[in-house]
């Protein structure tokens, strides 16, 4: 509920604290409190309740005429209609209702988007695992059959992933202007989005910490299996299993983290329109993308070095070095992020 009160405070902070304004604020706060209590009683989580209450708040401009403060806010971009334009930049103005629609769309697609990314990361698993298993005799199929099944699985997973992404882009299509940054924002929109993001920050940061932990742990099975396989009759099978486990851990990290990024994506997308600059990428854009490419690349380096150089006894050094480097990259990005946020 503190987030809701803070939101109301920032919304009203732009106006003179006249008795009529204070009365309006008190009554609106009462409505929000009742709505919040009602949602909690329905069994919604605190985050959901706060998000819903703020989405249902509406637009303070609408109250302006009955409070006699209309003249104070007319300097804001021409009031209220969705299609209005900001004369200074000639760009369409995104009002709160559109931003809310975009937030809902991001929230609706977050699991589909995550599933697609997870499928892409996991898609080579069968291709790596099955031929290795077949080669070692653990599975009663030939190496070529294993390869073929692996390829089919890869194509099916990629196809499902692409289908999911296409369906998510259909949902966000009406808000293309926002994701492209071709707009300026209406009054209160940025504050609304930031309040929403702050309400979700705790769970997002927890998910990120957990995911980074998984990504740092990801290479361990491969190191372990590679070391074990040196004296093992199973030969190349164990490193293959290790690679599959690396993919599973990377995918699990992404699966945990990505569903929590939508509210920051919203703030960053809206921030671009408010003139914060296109360099304002979110963590999904940086850490997530790095993780998705980093570990498979490291795996490729490890396998190439090991097989070509026949260097199994020493090539494991790739993993501790890679893990420390990844920790440094992820840490550096979040430090940069908090520095940027502190400067704002």
């Amino acid at each position: 509920m503190n987030v809701v009160i803070a939101y109301l405070d920032t919304m009203f902070s732009a106006y003179p604290q006249s008795p009529r304004m204070l009365e309006a604020k008190a009554e609106l706060q009462g409505m929000m409190e009742d709505a919040y209590t009602g949602l909690i009683a329905e069994g919604r989580s605190e985050n959901e309740a706060v998000g819903q209450v703020i989405r249902d708040f509406g637009n303070l401009e609408e109250v302006a005429p009955v409070l006699g403060i209309a003249s104070d806010i007319t300097r804001e971009p021409a009031a209220a209609t969705s299609g209005s334009f900001d004369a200074s930049t000639e760009r369409p103005v995104v009002q709160l209702d559109q931003a809310q629609g975009y937030a809902d769309a991001l929230q609706r697609i977050r699991f589909r988007f995550t599933t697609a990314v997870v499928l892409f990361v996991l898609s080579p698993a069968a291709l790596i695992g099955l031929p290795a298993a077949a080669g070692s005799g653990s599975l009663p199929i030939g190496g070529h059959v294993g390869l073929l099944i692996g390829l089919v699985v890869l194509f099916i997973m990629v196809a499902i992933g692409v289908t999911l992404l296409v369906s998510t882009s259909r949902e966000t299509a009406p808000y293309k202007r926002i994701s492209d940054g071709q707009f300026s924002v209406g009054p209160g929109v940025t504050r609304w989005a930031e309040t929403l993001a702050e309400a979700n920050d705790r769970s997002r940061i927890r998910a990120l910490q957990f995911a980074i932990g998984l990504w740092i742990l990801a290479p361990i099975p491969l190191i372990a299996f590679a070391l074990l396989s040196e004296n093992s009759p199973q030969g190349d099978f164990l490193p293959g299993v290790g690679v599959v486990l690396v993919l599973v851990l990377v995918a699990a990290g992404l699966g945990i983290f990505l569903p929590h990024t939508w509210s920051r994506t919203l703030v960053d997308d809206l921030g671009r329109g408010a003139g914060a600059g296109a360099a304002d990428d979110d963590e999904r854009g940086i850490v997530g993308v790095i993780a998705a490419f980093y570990w498979p690349l490291l795996t490729a380096i490890f396998l190439a070095w090991s097989f070509i150089g026949s260097a199994w006894h020493i090539s494991w050094i790739v993993w501790p070095v890679g893990a420390v480097l990844f920790g440094a990259i992820a840490g550096g990005i979040s430090a940069l992020e908090s520095y940027r946020r502190a400067r704002r």
Partner: protein
């Protein structure tokens, strides 16, 4: 099909008055009743409802008094005034004729399609 805020704006006052005809009420309860009567078709924003009751109060169509909500919180209650009852009848008549005019265009258009 959810109704846009623009389409229904002129009739929020009528909805509020119709609820207050039954009994005095406070803002959150009004919002709840409007949302439950509309199903998923229309979710009223808090600022929309607040400006509607304040507009009605300023016009002398409803009066406010301090009350206590069922959960024990102090809340501003609204009661319909005589002028509000008359205004409600007027708005209902206006809605009927608005609806019949718009319907005529829609019927004509759909007949045009079916021919």
């Amino acid at each position: 099909m959810p109704i846009s805020a623009d389409a229904i704006r002129g009739y929020v006052d009528l909805m509020v008055l119709s609820l207050l005809r039954d009994s005095p009420s406070y803002a959150y309860e009004l919002a709840q009743r409007i949302t439950s009567m509309s199903g998923d078709d229309y979710a009223i924003k808090q600022t929309t409802l607040y400006s509607a009751v304040k507009r009605l109060e300023a016009g002398g169509l409803v009066s406010s008094f301090a009350g206590v909500s069922p959960s024990g919180k102090p809340r501003t209650y609204y009661r319909i005034a005589d002028a509000g009852l008359a205004y409600f009848d007027l708005k209902v008549a206006e809605w009927r004729s608005t609806k019949s005019v718009v319907d005529r265009f829609i019927d004509a258009a759909s007949e045009g399609v079916s021919q």
